[in-house]
């Protein structure tokens, strides 16, 4: 009987360990781990182009994660992207003239929203909108611009082609100050 008990305890321990490992993998190493964030407040920001920004992308100040992108939708009238940023309640002293930009982490990394703090004494509150925004850098446009510039420089001796203006540089400028 004692022997039978011991293997049953061993089996029980093994199954408990296996499920503990599964629970650990599922809750601590996956996107579920980001759901356990506590109270947060929502701030809106408009971008003319968000590039490959995805839901749950991080929001960072000075490279430190302070929240995540909780909603992305197109605004039907202005046809620009309305992005909702959920910021941890813990960080409640972000000036309301801060600028939001869509950046890429590394050359091939994911995109995230960076907030550059301004100098206003008032802090962002729930429902506020970040007015200063900078859209995602489109690598293709930069390359396109570069190629057009190069082409013109190479053919400076014989100007057979009309001068091309750089295509649509709206996306790399700080956009609409409403």
């Amino acid at each position: 009987m004692a022997k039978r008990q011991s293997f049953q305890i061993g089996t029980g321990l093994f199954i408990a360990l296996g499920f503990a490992a599964l629970g650990y993998l599922a809750t601590q190493t996956t996107s579920l781990a980001n759901y356990r964030q506590g109270a947060s407040y929502d701030v809106k920001a408009r971008f003319t182009n968000i590039g490959q920004l995805k839901l749950r992308a991080p929001v960072k100040v000075a490279g430190v994660r302070i929240g995540s992108v909780s909603d992305i939708k197109l605004e039907p009238d202005k046809l620009d992207a309305l992005v909702t940023l959920s910021i941890d309640q813990h960080y409640d002293k972000i000036p309301d003239d801060s600028a939001a930009s869509v950046f890429t982490s590394g050359l091939l990394g994911d995109q995230y929203v960076a907030l550059n703090p301004g100098g206003s004494p008032d802090a962002l509150k729930n429902g506020d909108e970040v007015v200063l925004t900078q859209s995602s850098m489109q690598l293709e446009e930069l390359i396109g611009k570069y190629l057009v510039g190069q082409g013109d420089a190479g053919k400076s001796s014989d100007k057979t082609k009309p001068e091309n203006p750089p295509p649509n540089d709206k996306n790399v400028q700080p956009n609409d100050k409403k």
Binding site: G18, T29, L108
Partner: protein, 256 residues
Amino acid sequence: MSVASRAFLPFTAGLAQLGACGIFLLQTLRAVPRSLRYFRETVRQVFFVGAMSLVIIMTCGLFVGMVLGLQLYHTLSIFGGTAALGTVVALSLYRELGPVVTALLFAGRAGTSITAEIGLMRATDQLDAMEMMAVDPLAYVVAPRFLAGIIAMPLLACVFNALGILGAHLVGVSWLGLDNGTFWSNMTANVDVWDDVVNGVWKSTAFGAVCTLIATFQGYTSPPTSEGVAYATTRTVVFSSIATLAIDFIMTAFLM
């Protein structure tokens, strides 16, 4: 026997084996409800194929994780992407290496012992003796081991994955000086529960079923000689490994 039919003998023998294995699977599945009467036997088998394999699984998981950490850190540093180390290690472990390496180790550690045990039961007429006593050997011997394999394999794969992550963390963060927060936050940002973790669990459940099916089938049909048991044990490892890798490819293609 004509020359032509002799030339095709390996193929027909292989087909016959495959068919016998399929029939054996159906018989085992039919015996599963009856084997619930011997529930304690199933628990004992979970202990033998699962808990007793923990040491090898945990050691190998730790080392696989450490090697992954080292190799990927080196490769990713060429592209300046060492921040993605946690993500890459976690995804490759959960989706591929965890289930597959666990299944290969399981075939070597538990599959062989199942084959040898059942083969010796066959060789010493214990299976026939059970039938004489109106105990169905499929329900008492085969089905509990089959169930135990299905239960134990996903749990072993999860333990393997957890130790692998720990090993990669050890190498990447403690040794190579990657930032701890970067390691975890990149992982949690890119690894999904259903797409990655549960995907791997399905895979390892299928591997558990296939590996124990092959092990029990080889033992059950092994010739009742010492040489026959030896060959059956070898075939268990060979066929289990091939079947695991082949099914892995098919399941990856479907589950992607």
